[in-house]
C-alpha cells in the first residue's frame, strides 16, 4: 500500500501536468484552426455547427496548430511505415542530424577535457584562456553557423563535417567550464592529504581530481549533448534544407507544411531527450561503480 | 499569583517511518508557571527539542493536549506569545543586525519609531550596541547568537523558547552568555524554556530541571532547584550546586540504563 502511495507521489504530479498540457494543446488547436474552418465553410456557402467545426480542426491539411494525433500519425507514417533509406523517412533525417551531433559532441568533449586539464595545471593558461572561455558563453556562437558552413563548403568540406564542427564548438565550452570546476572540486584537506603521501602530480590527478570531477563532467555532458544537437540542426539551415531534421523544419516552413514541421520538431525533442537520458544512465552506472551516491 | 503558562497533558508525538513508528514523545505531563526558568536536559532522541517545537506550534502532537497562555499552541503562535531562539542564529544575511531585529517588529506591525527604540533597547541588553548597521557575516558566532536573542526579546512576548542556543560556542563565551541570560531573566521576569545538553548549564540557569530520556521520549524526573535567583558563576563550586548536578546525572544515567 505504501509503495503505491510513494509511486503516485512521484509520478502523479508529472502525469497531471502532461495530461493538462495535452488538453490545452487540443483546445488551442480547435481555437487556432477554427478561423480556417469557418472560412472554408463560408467559401463553400455552407454553415457548419460547432461540433462539425471541431472535427474539421482536427483533420486540416495545413492547420495553424496540428492536433496531437495528427502529429503522431505523421511521425508514425514517416518513421515506421517508410523505408529507412527513403528521403522522406524521419529516421533517415534523424540519423543525419544525429551523426553530426555525435561526431561533434565527441570531438568537443575530448578537446574540452584536454583544455580543462591544461587550464587547471598551467597558471598562464588559466589566466589567459579561462576568461575567454567564460566570455564565450555570453556570445551567441550559433550566429556563426551559416558562415562556417559556407566557408567550409567553399574549401570543399561539406556534408557531415561542417555541422559536426558547429556541434563540437557548442559542446566544447560547457565541458571546459564544468571540467575545470570539477578538477578544482577536491577540497584543500584532500589535496593536502595527497601531498603528505608525496604523491606525484599525476597520481593526484588520476586518483583524486579526476574522480571528483565526474559529477560535474556529467552535468556538462548533458548540457553539451543538447547544445550539439541544436548546433547540428541549425547547421542544416544554410545549405538550403537538403537533409536532416533542421532541413525538414526549414522545408516545412517554406511550403507551409505545419504537420511536417511539428513532426520534425517532436522527433528532435525525442532525440534530445534520449541522448540526455543515455548520458544520465551512463552517469548513474559510472558513479555507482565509483561509490558516489547521487 | 503564579499562573500556569504552559501545560501539557498526556502529550504524545509519534512519527511513522520506513522502519516503523518512532515515539518522539510519549505521555508527557508538564506544568510551567509564570516566571520560571525551566531547563530540558537529556541524551539525543529524548524529545527535548521536539517538546519545545510542539510548544511553539512548529510540530503537532498526535495525541494529548498542549496549552500556552490558556489557548491552543496555534492560537498562542498567531498571538506572538513567545520568542524562539534556535541552535544557529538564523539571521537573514541580506539584512543588517538592526534589520534582522526589526524583522519580527515589521511583521507584527510596530511603527517605525517604536522599531528604532526597541532595536537600541535590546542591543543594549545583549551588549551589542553599535553593531546596528553590521551584517551577520561580519560578526563572530557568539555575537550572532546574542543578536538572535536580542531579536527574540524585541517584541513583547512573555515566553522565551531556547533550543541549545549556546551549543556551538566555546566555553568562555558560553559562560559569559549564561551570565547575561540569567541577568536578563531577572530583569525581564519572562518565562524561559531552555533545552541543553550540558548539566552545569542546566543547573546554573534554571529554577526547575526537566530530565528526559529516549525511546520513547519521556520525562524521567522534574528536579526543583533551590539556588538563589541572583547567582553568579562561582556558585558552580558550591555544595548545593554539585548536589543538584549529581541528582541530574543520576537520573540521566538511570534513564539510559533501562533501555
Amino acid at each position: 500500500m505504501n509503495k503505491a502511495k510513494d509511486l503516485w507521489h512521484l509520478i502523479g504530479p508529472i502525469l497531471t501536468i502532461l495530461i493538462a498540457i495535452t488538453a490545452i494543446w487540443y483546445v488551442s488547436a480547435v481555437w487556432l484552426n477554427s478561423a480556417w474552418a469557418y472560412d472554408k465553410a463560408k467559401r463553400a456557402n455552407v454553415t457548419i455547427s460547432f461540433s462539425e467545426m471541431v472535427s474539421d480542426t482536427m483533420i486540416q491539411q495545413k492547420p495553424l496548430l496540428p492536433s496531437p494525433h495528427q502529429v503522431i500519425k505523421e511521425i508514425y507514417k514517416t518513421t515506421i511505415l517508410k523505408k529507412v533509406t527513403s528521403k522522406r523517412s524521419l529516421v533517415w533525417h534523424g540519423w543525419i542530424t544525429l551523426s553530426a551531433t555525435l561526431l561533434g559532441f565527441m570531438f568537443g568533449t575530448t578537446l574540452g577535457i584536454l583544455l580543462a586539464v591544461g587550464i587547471v595545471f598551467s597558471k598562464s593558461m588559466d589566466m589567459s584562456v579561462m576568461p575567454w572561455v567564460i566570455t564565450s558563453q555570453t556570445i551567441p556562437i550559433l550566429a556563426i553557423a551559416p558562415m562556417i558552413i559556407v566557408v567550409l563548403n567553399a574549401v570543399g568540406v561539406s556534408g557531415l563535417l561542417p555541422k559536426a564542427i558547429i556541434s563540437m564548438y557548442l559542446s566544447f565550452f560547457p565541458v571546459v567550464v564544468g571540467m575545470v570546476k570539477g578538477l578544482r572540486a577536491p577540497d584543500k584537506m584532500q589535496l593536502d592529504q595527497m601531498h603528505t603521501w608525496s604523491a606525484p602530480k599525476a597520481t593526484s590527478f588520476w586518483k583524486l581530481r579526476l574522480p571528483s570531477s565526474m559529477p560535474y563532467l556529467f552535468a556538462s555532458l548533458k548540457i553539451g549533448v543538447a547544445a550539439s544537437l541544436v548546433g547540428a540542426i541549425v547547421g542544416e539551415l544554410p545549405t538550403g534544407a537538403v537533409a536532416g531534421l533542421g532541413a525538414r523544419l526549414l522545408a516545412g516552413s517554406y511550403y507551409g507544411q505545419t504537420i511536417q514541421i511539428w513532426s520534425a520538431l517532436i522527433c528532435a525533442a525525442i532525440l534530445a531527450a534520449t541522448l540526455v537520458a543515455i548520458i544520465g544512465i551512463i552517469e548513474k552506472i559510472t558513479l555507482r561503480k565509483m561509490g558516489i551516491q547521487l | 499569583m503564579n499562573k500556569s503558562v504552559i501545560s501539557a497533558t498526556d502529550l504524545s508525538l509519534t512519527y511513522e517511518t520506513n522502519d516503523g513508528p518512532v515515539h518522539a514523545l510519549q505521555d508527557i505531563d508538564l506544568n510551567i508557571k509564570e516566571g520560571e526558568f525551566v531547563s530540558f536536559i537529556g541524551p539525543s532522541g529524548c524529545g527535548k527539542t521536539t517538546l519545545l517545537r510542539v510548544i511553539a506550534d512548529l510540530e503537532s502532537p498526535t495525541k494529548g493536549m498542549i496549552e500556552v497562555n490558556n489557548m491552543t499552541a496555534s492560537q498562542a503562535r498567531m498571538k506572538r506569545a513567545y520568542g524562539y531562539v534556535f541552535q544557529a542564529a538564523g539571521l537573514y544575511p541580506w539584512r543588517t543586525i538592526g534589520g534582522n531585529i526589526k524583522l519580527p517588529l515589521e511583521i507584527m506591525g510596530y511603527n517605525k519609531i517604536e522599531q528604532e527604540e526597541r532595536v537600541s533597547r535590546v542591543l543594549e541588553l545583549v551588549e551589542l550596541t553599535g553593531f546596528n548597521k553590521k551584517f551577520p557575516w561580519q560578526l563572530s558566532g557568539g555575537m550572532q547568537q546574542r543578536a538572535s536573542i536580542a531579536r527574540a526579546l524585541a517584541f513583547d512576548a512573555d515566553i522565551l523558547l531556547m533550543d541549545e542556543p549556546f551549543g556551538a560556542l566555546d566555553e568562555i563565551v558560553r559562560d559569559h552568555l549564561n551570565e547575561q541570560l540569567l541577568k536578563l531573566w531577572n530583569t525581564t521576569k519572562k518565562t524561559i524554556c531552555f533545552v541543553t545538553h550540558s548539566i552545569p548549564e542546566a543547573v546554573f540557569l534554571s529554577s526547575k530541571i526537566v530530565v528526559m530520556s529516549p525511546r520513547p521520549g519521556r520525562i524521567s524526573k522534574v528536579i526543583k532547584s533551590n539556588l538563589p535567583n541572583d547567582r553568579t558563576l562561582d556558585i558552580r563550586e558550591s555544595k548545593e550546586f554539585l548536589d543538584i548536578a549529581a541528582q541530574v546525572r543520576e537520573v540521566l544515567r538511570k534513564g539510559t540504563a533501562d533501555e
Binding site: S128, W132, P146 | L58
Partner: protein, 279 residues
C-alpha cells in the same frame, strides 16, 4: 612569408610575457591584462596568417579588413542591432522572464504542482526549442514579434526552473522563524522567500541573456524582414561578403557580453550577502 614569421614571433613574445605575469602576485590589473594580451596575440596571429598564406577574403578576412567594414557600416549595424536585440531579444527576454517568475511564485503555493512542473520544466529546457522558430514565424509573422515569441519560449523554462529552485531553497531555521512570528503568506514571500531566492533567480537571468540573443538571431534564419542581425548574417554569407558577417558577429558578441555583464553587475548589488559574492 614575413607576415607569418612576424605573427608567430609576436605570439611567442606575448605568451612569454603572460607566463612571466602569471608567476607574480596577481592583482585586478594583471588579471585583466593577461587575457587581453592573449586575445590581442590571437588577433595578430590571425592577421599574419591570413596575409602570409594569402587566404582569400571570401574565406577568412583579416581583422583589419573587418574593422574597416565595421566602421563603414555603422548605420546598417545599428538598424540590425535595434531590430534583433532591442525589439526581438530584449522584449522577449522581459516578457519570458517576468512570466516565468510569476508562474514560479504562483506554483510555489502548491507542492503538487511543483513536483510536476520541475521535472517537466527541466525536460523542456533541454529540448531544441529553437526548432519552434518556423512555427512561431507562421503564427506571428515575419517581423520582430515572432522573434520575441521564440525568445519567450526559450527563456521561460530555464527561468522557471531556476526560480522554483530558488523559492524552495530556504533555510529551515529561517523558515521556522517566520512561523513563530505568525507571518502571513505575503510577508513570508517578500521578506524571506524572494530575498533568499535571488542568487538562483540571477543565475537564471544570466543564462537567459545568452539564450535570448541566440534565439532572436537564429529565429531570423527562418524568415525575417530585410533587417536584423540574423538576416544580415545569412544574406551576407550568401553574397560571400564575410567581412560584413564578421562585423555583425562582433556586434552580437559585444551585445551578448554587455547584456550578460550588466546582469552580473546587478547581481552583485542585489546578492551582495551571498558567500559567492563575498570572496
Amino acid at each position: 612569408m614575413i607576415w607569418i614569421i612576424g605573427a608567430i614571433f609576436f605570439w611567442i613574445i606575448f605568451w612569454a610575457i603572460n607566463i612571466q605575469l602569471s608567476k607574480i602576485e596577481s592583482n585586478k590589473f594583471i588579471k585583466l591584462l593577461v587575457p587581453t594580451l592573449f586575445g590581442f596575440s590571437i588577433l595578430i596571429l590571425w592577421e599574419g596568417f591570413v596575409r602570409g598564406f594569402d587566404v582569400s577574403p571570401i574565406l577568412l578576412p583579416t581583422p583589419t579588413a573587418i574593422a574597416i567594414r565595421f566602421s563603414q557600416s555603422l548605420n546598417i549595424l545599428w538598424v540590425d542591432f535595434v531590430q534583433t536585440f532591442i525589439k526581438g531579444a530584449l522584449s522577449g527576454y522581459l516578457i519570458g522572464c517576468i512570466a516565468a517568475f510569476i508562474t514560479a511564485v504562483a506554483v510555489d503555493k502548491s507542492s503538487f504542482l511543483k513536483r510536476g512542473l520541475l521535472p517537466v520544466g527541466n525536460f523542456v529546457a533541454a529540448l531544441p526549442i529553437i526548432g519552434m522558430a518556423p512555427i512561431l514565424v507562421m503564427w506571428f509573422g515575419f517581423d520582430w514579434h515572432s522573434k520575441a515569441a521564440v525568445v519567450v519560449v526559450m527563456v521561460f523554462f530555464p527561468m522557471l526552473v531556476n526560480t522554483v529552485a530558488g523559492l524552495n531553497a530556504k533555510d529551515n531555521i529561517q523558515h521556522d522563524l517566520m512561523k513563530t512570528y505568525g507571518a502571513n503568506y505575503w510577508q513570508n514571500l517578500l521578506k524571506l522567500s524572494l530575498p533568499s531566492a535571488m542568487p538562483f533567480i540571477f543565475n537564471g537571468l544570466k543564462i537567459c541573456t545568452t539564450l535570448a540573443l541566440i534565439g532572436a538571431i537564429v529565429a531570423e534564419f527562418f524568415g525575417s524582414p530585410t533587417r536584423g542581425m540574423g538576416f544580415r548574417i545569412s544574406t551576407e554569407v550568401g553574397r560571400l561578403s564575410l567581412d560584413m558577417v564578421w562585423a555583425e558577429i562582433t556586434v552580437a558578441a559585444l551585445a551578448g557580453s554587455a547584456f550578460y555583464g550588466m546582469m552580473a553587475l546587478i547581481e552583485k548589488g542585489v546578492t551582495f550577502w551571498h558567500p559567492s559574492q563575498r570572496k
